[in-house]
Symmetry: C2
Subunit: 451 residues, 2 copies
């Protein structure tokens, strides 16, 4: 089994055959570290009344390249020797440095793909939870808030980065795009705590956040595709916007036909996994199509979630997807944090100061750009426009998806990537207290409705 | 991002960075193929009244190297050009042959590890379902049946392979060990259909099958460890048997202390995944320990399952593990089938005939060796000993775990590996009709008890 002297491509084959139990050990140990970090982070965040997802992200930063070096990836010159877990594995299994390097690469690749599958499943779940019918009720006001809340931060962020900070066009567009999405989860949780979920402001915020998610994912698909080709061509941009929109709406329209087929198939199946396997065949197939037509895998799984949300098996599916998402989504959040090198923003190093200024700028645009969206509403006397604007501020998980995909595509410079993560963390931390302040200054304009 | 000219080890890093979306596409497409095959196979098997797991295995053979070449692995000289899925990916993404080779290796490595995680989770689930308290009731009779049913096929199989077929000692021991385990799932399903689950024979069969699982996993850990070192040393064998047994019983004993800690921890958690994440931290950690002390990862997750089976959260955990197992376990069964090259037993090729004889021999020993175990019972007048022996025949999923691990360790020759798979398929196909015949000739010796 000593194939190690073969030429370049089969290296992994040889390492995989020789060290397959060690690779599995490495993956298991990485997963144990990731799960411990995510659970401790989520629980601590919950105790101090912050969203659990932020705790998972910060825990990821702690176990990652910035601090403990438990979960690191072979990028930016890091090797097996830098990884604390690999040191353990190398000692226990008496690996040579070459074997350790091979095992480190193989297990990192597996964890990276698991994180990508995690975000595919996260968007599938968000799709399953987004109720398209609800959008019709909130209507035009929510659409206006969403569009302003996407356009203003995107335009201001991209223009500012290019003109003031001389960032090249593609990374500037990517960072601008990362400013667009609103986290529906965090906002709707705070609104429900304040008893404002069914107020007119609450309804507009939630509706706009759903539209924001859809717009944000289309923007992400377009921007990520631009990052792949590396050039901005007006025809290409128009083609991408049309194809991403067409893909999403096309799958939803075809979905209503597919729905019945899906429910009939699921009902006729008699073996274990009769709901979950067909659902994931559909989600993974759509993700594959999304990726193959040079958009994004997550656009496909999001569309699959929107489609299956309309079926009768929806509630059963929600329950079954939950434990799967619980197991795979934290891998994504923790590894996004683990890849962040906070060192690039250390204010003690003079070269880092421009990076710090970018972070401050992005946070300011992220807050101001969403705040103005409250004034996009019209004809509604007595509406709490500040509260609507503040409700759109938190970026949460969708902002992290941008940072994660930007990091994987290699288009973002390290300071820009870290600035985006800091923007996500700060907007998400600040929104709950701001929202309480904004609503505290006014009484609900409508009495809470039943639902 | 063109790091492709760096020296050997960072090849995967370069390929991973450049082609990360393509690797994800490949993994998604492989998973879609695997899930389609597993669901179609399971449903067809169910329709013709065979165990679904056999259908998944046969479907794996069909999509694998023996026929469709949809799911294949870079081993035994297979390259990206042999893979139908890679041909699609290469065409869609315009990959160079070198890039295609790298993507093929990376995605195959990910699927292999997912299959290994699948079997880790399968054994975790089997552990969760094995009720140790039940064993005390069936007691000595079941223990005797189990021990005879493990010892006779193991000794006869190993001795026959070495003396008649001149197979070297380690592969012969491995194949002999693959003859030991009984599939509790298949037998207990048929027994329950026959209304015999609570009869004395049924109780002995189920009890013996549980003990068989435990003995079989210990035997597997010992044999796989022998295969790794490549030499048989009496002291080493004694050490391995003691350490595997001590690991299993030690974790169960310590488990009763750990149980309370686990339940308290789970109850104090407030964020999503409060049961499932701690359970998988424990299962994966135990699997890591099992693998690190040179036994097997599955021994660890099996022990974790036995421990958590005793907790109050057991029923909730069972429900949560199900969809996760539904999603990951089929990857294991389908890839075991997909790696099987039926061509090595083609009777038209004269060189294959000794392999065919081995297959016939293994099937005969597998049936006869379990049949005699019925006569290990004593002092029970009127007991249907034939039915007990027949009930122990099906090998099912645990037999496949042996074949899969033997294949991964490289210790089994291709004909021997295929013979084991055929033995598993035939014993599992034959047991249900045989069991009906055996019980048809006698009335239940006891009336069905309540439980």
């Amino acid at each position: 089994m000593t194939l190690l002297n073969l030429p370049t491509p089969p290296v992994l084959v040889a390492i995989a055959a020789e060290y397959s139990p060690v690779i599995l050990s490495g993956v298991l140990l990485s997963l144990v570290s990731i799960y411990l970090a995510s659970k401790i982070g989520a629980e601590v965040a919950k105790k101090i009344d912050f969203p659990p997802v932020l705790g998972e992200l910060v825990a990821g930063v702690i176990v990652g390249v910035s601090a403990l070096h438990l979960v690191i990836f072979p990028e930016a010159g890091l090797t097996a020797q830098d990884s604390f877990l690999m040191t353990i594995l190398q000692f226990v299994n008496q690996l040579t440095p070459e074997a350790a390097a091979g095992v480190f690469e193989a297990q990192s690749e597996v964890i990276s793909v698991l994180a990508e599958i995690g975000v595919v499943i996260l968007l599938f779940e968000i799709g399953l939870e987004s109720d398209l019918r609800q959008l019709k009720e909130v209507g035009i006001q929510a659409t206006l808030v969403a569009c302003v809340g996407v356009a203003v931060p995107f335009a201001a962020g991209t223009a500012g980065l290019m003109s003031v900070f001389h960032v090249p066009a593609i990374p500037a567009i990517f960072a601008g795009a990362a400013l667009t999405a609103t986290s529906i989860g965090i906002t709707s949780k705070v609104l429900s705590e304040l008893g404002q979920l069914k107020s007119k402001e609450g309804q507009i915020i939630v509706g706009a956040a759903v539209i924001d998610d859809v717009l944000g994912i289309i923007v992400l698909a377009v921007v990520a595709s631009l990052a792949k080709t590396g050039e901005i061509d007006v025809i290409n941009v128009v083609y991408l916007i049309i194809s991403a929109t067409a893909f999403l709406w096309g799958s939803i329209l075809l979905g209503s036909l597919f729905n019945r087929l899906f429910v009939r198939t699921v009902q006729s199946l008699e073996t274990r996994g009769s709901v979950v396997i067909p659902a994931f065949i559909f989600a993974f197939f759509m993700a594959f199509v999304g990726s193959t037509i040079h958009l994004e895998a997550i656009l496909g799984s999001f569309a699959a979630g929107l489609v299956l949300d309309e079926t009768d098996t929806r509630n059963e599916l929600d329950e079954l997807v939950k434990p799967i998402a619980d197991l795979l989504v934290p891998i994504f959040f923790v590894t996004v944090g683990a890849r962040v090198d906070l060192g690039v923003l250390n204010p003690m190093v003079p070269e880092n100061r421009s990076g710090l200024l970018i972070a401050v700028f992005l946070v300011a645009v992220a807050i101001a750009g969403k705040l103005v969206s409250g004034w996009a509403t019209f004809g509604q006397a007595g509406l709490n426009r500040v509260a609507i604007g503040v409700g759109m501020i938190p970026r949460g998980e969708v902002g992290l998806v941008f940072a994660g995909i930007g990091s994987a595509s290699g288009v973002l410079s390290k300071p820009l990537e870290v600035s985006i993560i800091i923007m996500v963390i700060l907007t998400t931390f600040l929104a709950p207290p701001f929202l309480r302040l904004a609503f505290g200054s006014s009484t609900p304009t409508t009495t809470p409705a039943e639902s």
